[in-house]
Symmetry: C2
Subunit: 215 residues, 2 copies
């Protein structure tokens, strides 16, 4: 059980979501085939993904839904609570603050920061926006595990450098820029512009369809 690809981890999250639905519907058991079709993948892929972490199924019977849910939550590290700080109280930041789902999933936003003096002191969803200058100290005091970066692209790298220097090992970046982090720091990006461009590419593709012949 070594070397797990990010795609595998992403799929585990999807399996978990679908399993929760199935559990809600009262399903006790599920086959890799069934799970795969609901997750848009293949049965072999499901089994292979799970096999990296152990053996969870019963041959001839499938997977026990509740058991597999626990197993996945444990694998994904979702059994604990994470302390999250949000940097940037702009549009996206504020939208995230209102997003109750995070709390329920165990990701609790404990502090919000902004560099703009006009934003500092404002209250959002029970939190007061704190000044950028308090960042390093607050990260340590609050024992922050994960930082969400929701600042303009131009300043994102400098914010990340500070956060990393302060000892944070996990960052979720919403700024539309490629960030550099040292090894040992986990970085994930949420980039709507990039996804829109992917759609644009797909649309452009299909309007000049068929195979070949340009000249």
């Amino acid at each position: 059980m070594r070397k797990v690809s990010p795609s595998t981890v992403g799929r585990l999250s999807i399996y978990l979501r679908v399993l929760s639905e199935l559990d809600g519907l009262g399903a006790e058991t599920v086959s890799s085939e069934e799970l795969a079709s609901r997750c848009g993948t293949t049965a072999a892929q499901v089994r292979k993904d799970l096999s990296f972490f152990g053996t969870f199924g019963k041959r001839g019977r499938g997977y026990a839904v509740e058991e597999l849910i626990s197993a996945l939550r444990s694998i994904l590290g979702l059994e604990r609570r994470y302390r999250v700080a949000l940097i940037g109280a702009g549009r996206i930041g504020v939208a995230l603050l209102g997003y109750r789902d995070f709390q329920e999933q165990g990701f609790h936003i404990e502090a919000v920061f902004d560099a703009d003096p006009k934003k500092v002191g404002q209250r959002w969803g029970g939190m007061t926006v704190r000044p950028d200058a308090e960042l390093e100290q607050a990260l340590a005091e609050e024992g922050i595990d994960i930082v969400i970066v929701a600042v303009p692209a131009e300043v994102a790298q400098s914010v990340v450098d500070r956060v990393v220097a302060a000892g944070v090992r996990a960052i979720l970046n919403f700024a539309p820029t490629k960030l550099q982090v040292p090894a040992g720091v986990a970085l994930k990006n949420v980039n709507m512009a990039l996804e829109l461009e992917g759609l644009s590419f797909a649309l452009a593709r299909e309007s000049r369809p068929r195979t070949r012949r340009t000249a």
Copy 2:
């Protein structure tokens, strides 16, 4: 020039962003080496990615920044304007509406819908929220190219089915659920919960570190 992987397309978007920065800084030319290092990839990867679409560089000299920008914009289909509809005027939806960057990039939000009668008629960033019932008709009338789905997970699939039936071929999904679309419809997901779980996994990993020995 056939079969282009999604990762290649994603990287093209990143190259474009970095090239725009370089252009802003007055750079006339850039080597694959330089571009790669700024994009967090390798020179060979850059050259290979570009080579799927043609030959853009000058040997011994590198790539002309402005030329490559145009080429990438053309490849990604960014030279035209896209008409976008937003479905769901909740927190995320409203945050997106205020996001001026999309407009500048050529993605214009032309209509906003919500199923909640309390939201219908509200104005956001110069747009009036329209009732869900008008969806199909409006998509056709406005000639919508891309739909952004920002509704609760439970109703996302039914919204997508309607949108696809209405002829839309590109969807950006913010609902935390795996959507099914027929072949020929491009679907991209922006899923913060999934990314947070990826971070959770990474953190869980490194707290039980080293290689092996659990029992």
